[in-house]
Symmetry: C2
Subunit: 328 residues, 2 copies
């Protein structure tokens, strides 16, 4: 009986799935995909002689990580009806092109929201309380010889401003409430279901915050939403944490303000030109630098795998997609 199942599930009868990714991006569940689908992968070694033909009829594509999805990509795969994304932010997809073609798009939805919110709080704690600095100090063997210490700044009770009160921002708020912090936020629209003060203007929010958490989506409207004026409003004792996308902040200005001491500190998981990180930051003790790690947990990957597999299956069985993106 197992032999019969094996034959039935041969690659000839399995539905087609296109993997769209950087060569370096591997996900732990790629092997699982191959048991269920005929996986077309331009970066497989080799992609196979049938790739050019099969890719013309593939109906669903899985976009992995930050790989851009352009209108030209979609031209190459004209039969695609569904794009399954594997990240919460999908600013790297040409959504207008998807909409024109009537393609359904899904994101990672909430699969990693807890982890990103946890990481945002971790970065804020680390910047204000100098945890990484302390760890460097001890590992360097300096403690027995140097009595000086860097005074941290208290986290409890501080004013937290959240830019983008979506699934991540709401979780950030809940966590900081446990620290007796006051919460305020900025977003496109006021959220009627929360009682936190709303600021229509990010600069006003920054003026009234000690900790600014940036976790909104990157769109044309939010590009460099954290500009020089906003950071100046946050001021010399304010800190900024970015777990959204690098280009939400004017990075050049951020670096200048940090180097001059005109901004209190920064916890950065994302950068404008990843993996490039401005080297001026490497010598500063009031910044914590992280290589886009906010979603990188075992649990987050498992939740993502579950969601992605469910969405591919839902597509083929005409069931509702989860975390589908509304295309305007």
């Amino acid at each position: 009986m197992p032999a019969a199942v094996d034959i039935k599930q041969s690659s000839e009868t399995l539905p087609l799935l296109l993997l769209h990714r950087f060569p370096s991006f591997e996900l732990s569940f790629f092997p699982v995909l191959k048991t269920k689908y005929t996986v077309l992968d331009l970066h497989a070694d080799p992609p196979g002689p049938s790739f050019p033909i099969l890719s013309k009829s593939v109906r669903v594509m899985l976009c992995v990580g930050p790989t851009a999805l352009t209108s030209e990509d979609l031209d190459r795969y004209p039969a695609v009806e569904c794009v399954v994304g594997s990240s919460a932010g999908i600013n790297h997809f040409d959504l207008a092109a998807c909409r024109r073609r009537g393609i359904h798009v899904t994101s990672a939805g909430d699969a990693s929201s807890d982890d990103v919110a946890d990481y945002a709080v971790g970065l804020a704690l680390d910047v204000l309380r100098r945890v990484s600095v302390a760890d460097r100090f001890v590992r360097a063997g300096s403690w027995p010889f140097q009595k000086e210490y860097t005074l941290g700044s208290k986290v409890s009770g501080k004013r937290v401003g959240i830019v983008g009160l979506g699934s991540i921002g709401l979780r950030v708020a809940k966590r900081f409430e446990g620290f007796n912090c006051s919460i305020a936020y900025n977003s496109r629209k006021i959220k009627s279901h929360v009682s936190y003060p709303y600021y229509a203007n990010v600069g006003d929010l920054a003026s009234n915050s000690d900790i600014l958490i940036v976790c909104c989506a990157l769109t044309n409207e939010t590009f460099h939403v954290i500009n020089k004026d906003v950071m100046r409003a946050l001021g010399k004792t304010g800190i900024i944490v970015n777990v959204g996308r690098g280009a939400l902040i004017d990075e050049k200005e951020l670096v200048e303000l940090l180097v001059r001491g005109d901004l209190g500190g920064a916890g950065l998981d994302v950068f404008e030109h990843e993996p490039y990180v401005p080297e001026e930051l490497f010598s500063l003790d009031n910044v914590v630098l992280s290589p886009h790690n906010a979603v990188i947990t075992l649990e987050s990957f498992a939740a993502l795998e579950e969601l992605v597999l469910a969405n591919i299956e839902a597509f083929f069985s005409n069931k509702p997609l989860r975390a589908e993106v509304e295309l305007h």
Copy 2:
């Protein structure tokens, strides 16, 4: 008029205050003390010729940081009636000797509890989500060249076991509730005012925890309360955070378990033989090391200054002391 005030507040008329400290320990409010008291300081440069005589009649002493207070110290200052401590933990005082002499003892009380609780959560987040590791990775310039990353472990939803549910432990609990973590605790006695599950045995608590936060007082009973068996019960995926005192944990066993991979990780702000830190820990990525920093914030120091000054003044004006320690 100012001249008259200056004359009146000369050192002859100001009450005596003994400063008991390591030479290296300075606090920002020492200058303020000198405006209000004739400060006797064995480590001042010089202590002054009147020190031997005045120290026999000094009635109140301020003990700074971790400086031990022994029965022999008290023999040298026979008129002392009140010992004002400046730390939350006062295991370095000979409390039995204080009790025999009828000396009142105060601690830092709650002045730093928020900061210590914040730091405990920060260490847990850092260990599980590898924040310091990430920061080292980026600062080393490795990101553009190395695609590998260390998978973190999710913080949200984990089981937090708190050893010592005092003013710090309760605050730790509240913070982790914001992360949807479940809370349980161990302490000398069950606390009737909280609903968290109580474990009379620390090993049982560890068996049912993913994150063990150690924040109880160090006493004869709690010396090495976290022994090998407790850490084995916590297991290969469990982590331990110590913001109490180093000797609460059997450090030799802790290091062995960490090196062998039999414990998931550790965030350590305190050590058995500070400032000595076991060098075996320096090469591990699943530990975060910190030089007894949990109370080191501007705000904490300000609160401590306020409390210490208030207690010295209360002593001289026969008013009730704050954060007085009950001596059994």
